[in-house]
């Protein structure tokens, strides 16, 4: 396991993002709702720039009963990022495509030490 320095916490304020390279692989690092996320930055579909994608809570639905509209709501625990080219949407924590968990991007843990952020590389 290697700790790769990213930047200071001051350089990645809430709502911001930046891309770093991990062994030549671009990785997107985001600061959202008080948490840091790191996910491969290239969409596996047609190599779109995930770093330019919108971050949203995952839309979830519950089937209540026959004939009724689905109850749809945004997840309180799962955030996603969508590739702006074609909308492929990934769970920021697990890297899994929201519709097909067989398509999964690598994700990484972000560690904060004395005001500095590091990416844990396996």
């Amino acid at each position: 396991m290697t700790l790769i320095p990213i930047c200071s916490t001051n350089d990645l304020p809430e709502g911001s993002r930046k891309t770093v390279n991990v062994e030549d692989t671009p990785v997107l690092v985001l600061h959202v709702d008080g948490s840091y996320y790191a996910i491969e930055a290239t969409c596996p579909h047609q190599s779109g720039p995930l770093g330019q994608g919108i971050v949203l809570p995952k839309l979830e639905a519950t089937f209540v009963s026959a004939g009724k509209r689905l109850e749809e709501s945004f997840s309180e625990t799962i955030l996603t990022i969508s590739c702006p080219w074609h909308g492929w949407e990934f769970d920021l924590s697990t890297g899994a495509h929201c519709g097909d968990s067989e398509v999964t991007l690598s994700t990484f843990e972000i560690v904060e030490k004395e005001g500095e952020l590091f990416l844990k590389s396996p």
């Binding site: 579909h45 839309l59 979830e60 639905a61 089937f63 026959a66 004939g67 009724k68 509209r69 689905l70 749809e72 074609h86 909308g87 492929w88 949407e89 495509h97 929201c98 519709g99 097909d100 398509v103």
Partner: protein
């Protein structure tokens, strides 16, 4: 009878019901309206010259010259080589085109009573499906409750030509729920009524309209069914699609997957790609595509999920019917796989 030692079950054949006889199974005022009506007055007919100017003929039944009689069925089965047959009343294939939903409920009730009384005979391997008046889901459920336990009624049939909104719409949930709870399969069956104008007008030959008409029926409905999450809402439901061949299935699997991967949030009930659900459905084989290179057929079957997803269907006595030999001609299938398609899967799914 059997073929190569395999029981042959035809999951889709048709009975050409005489309206004068059938009308006795309707309540008034429909009984009077029907018995005095010109043929096709209430039920839309089908278009196009099925018989290619007399080139195609049926010697075993009187169709198309006149309606069939129940006494003709054993001869029909012997001619095609069937041990068991699931017969749909032919005019019910126009169900989606009925001009009034008021007529759908009495017709559906009358047809199933007629079929049970005059046609169905499980001891002779003769079964039918309950064609649901999907126009009225509540009445459909009442009808399911009334006849689903009849030994001769093997499944619910939803005609895919015409229903609007399409059949994945939540208004039909009670129908699926009733079938799911009863372990009563649902068969989606394409229909040819008004095939010349179902999607596009102006084709000059029946060859053109028939190439697409039935196919589009099923394509339109399977999209709705999957995207609206019917298999997630009702996971025990056995779903069967019939009468569009099988090559369309991988096409729709891959198109739906491509759309879904880009727009998953529009189908939030799904937990996997549409193709994965479609690989859990069953498909009647008729009219089976017969490419010169059988490897193409083999690949299509692989994409659908394997021979266990298929059930032989003849569509007899329609003009483009298939004989059981379309299955035994598939040399790439093992004897056991051919047996599954010819009858074993149908026996299991339909409980016959």
């Amino acid at each position: 009878m059997t073929l190569n030692g395999h029981v042959v079950v035809d999951v889709d054949a048709h009975f050409f019901e005489p309206l004068h006889d059938f009308s006795n199974y309707l309540d008034e005022p429909w009984k009077s309206r029907f018995s005095g009506a010109t043929r096709g007055r209430f039920i839309p007919g089908s278009t196009g010259d099925r018989w290619v100017g007399g080139r195609i003929m049926r010697n075993v039944t009187s169709y198309p010259q006149k309606d069939m009689t129940p006494e003709e069925i054993p001869g029909l089965m012997k001619h095609v080589g069937l041990d068991k047959i699931v017969l749909l009343p032919n005019k019910m294939l126009s169900f989606g085109k009925l001009s009034s939903d008021e007529i759908a409920v009495p017709l559906a009730n009358g047809f199933i009573d007629y079929m049970l009384d005059k046609v169905v005979d499980p001891s002779e391997g003769i079964y039918t499906m309950l064609v649901a008046p999907f126009h009225d889901p509540e009445e459909s459920v009442a009808l399911i409750d009334r006849v689903a336990d009849e030994k001769g009624v093997v499944a619910l049939c939803l005609v895919t030509a015409g229903p609007e909104p399409p059949l994945g719409d939540r208004r039909y949930d009670p129908i699926y729920e009733a079938c799911n709870d009863r372990n009563f399969p649902v068969v989606f069956h394409a229909g040819g009524s008004s095939v010349d104008s179902f999607f596009i007008r102006g084709y000059r030959k029946f060859l053109e309209t028939h190439t697409l008409g039935f196919l589009w029926n099923n394509m339109a409905q399977i999209v709705s069914l999957v995207v609206q999450g019917v298999p997630e809402k009702y996971p025990n439901l056995d779903i069967v699609f019939q009468e569009s061949g099988i090559f369309w299935v991988p096409l729709m699997m891959h198109r739906l997957d491509a759309e879904y991967m880009k727009r998953q949030s529009e189908a939030p009930l799904l937990t996997k790609k549409p193709s994965k659900y479609m690989q859990e459905f069953y498909y009647g084989t008729q009219p089976l595509e017969e490419p010169d290179n059988p490897e193409y057929l083999q690949q299509i079957i692989d994409m659908i999920g394997g021979p266990e997803r298929l059930m032989y269907a003849s569509d007899y006595p329609h003009w483009d019917y298939d004989r059981p030999s379309v299955i035994t001609n598939m040399d790439f299938l093992s004897d056991s796989e051919q047996g599954m398609i010819l009858g074993k899967t149908a026996e299991r799914i339909f409980g016959i």
